[in-house]
């Protein structure tokens, strides 16, 4: 399985500011994903980070709010912009290994609290 490092592990931010979350994987992967996990709810896919092209966003998520970068095959960032308390959640990065397109491995997540 891939080793995924996600930073920061947690943060407390003020309303109206932005936070960039980093995801680093120890091997080259084709697909990287960003999820949100709210208490008591299932994981929700925010977007797929595509290397060399714009991210693909799921319904309800927009690039202006969640800009994503994917500069190479081992790294991606998610920015949560103009934050409000409703953005308080756990944000998770995942990767799909080259040997199986049906499996995803997850990072430890970033716990975000917005005051």
């Amino acid at each position: 399985s891939a080793v995924i490092s996600q930073k920061p592990s947690r943060d407390i931010c003020q309303r109206g500011t932005s936070l960039t979350i980093q995801c680093q994987v120890d091997s080259q992967v084709t697909m990287m994903f960003w999820y949100r996990q709210q208490p008591g709810q299932s994981l929700t896919l925010i977007a797929t980070a595509n290397q060399g092209s714009e991210a693909t966003y799921e319904s309800g998520f927009v690039i202006d709010k969640f800009p994503i970068s994917r500069p190479n095959l081992t790294f991606s960032t998610l920015t949560v912009s103009n934050m409000s308390p409703e953005d308080s959640s756990i944000y998770l990065c995942s990767v799909q290994p080259r040997e199986s397109k049906n499996i995803q491995y997850f990072g430890a997540g970033t716990r975000l609290s917005v005051l």
Binding site: L43, T48, L92, K101, A108
Partner: protein, 110 residues
């Protein structure tokens, strides 16, 4: 109706008991089924991965898939306090989009 429904729990069992976790789903196109374990303040960890109907065993863990009933289960035998975690079911057709259950929190009492 949610695409994947998972028994909400929480479950509290004594050490050594069998833990039974269940999910139902509505999309008959799902073919690949997974169980993830998530410890507090950690990311989901892939526990079991099965394709189509049938059983798969890995140590104390058994995953069952019944596609005719759109029902999957995870059994944990001889449960240990270290099994205390939230368990998430997930499934996919044959692409990258995983659909998750909301998770069941299990506590194994020593």
């Amino acid at each position: 109706q949610k695409e994947v429904e998972q028994d909400p729990g929480p479950l509290s069992v004594p050490e050594g008991a069998i833990v039974s976790l269940n999910c139902t789903y509505s999309n008959s196109a799902f073919q690949y089924f997974m169980w993830y374990r998530q410890y507090s303040r950690k990311g989901p960890e892939l526990l079991m991965y099965t394709y189509s109907s049938g059983n798969k065993e890995d140590g104390r863990f058994t995953a069952q898939v019944d596609k005719s009933s759109k029902y999957i289960s995870l059994f944990i035998r001889d449960s240990q306090p270290s099994d205390s975690a939230t368990y998430l079911c997930a499934m996919t057709r044959n692409d990258y989009k995983l659909s998750f259950g909301a998770g069941t929190t299990v506590t194994v009492r020593a």
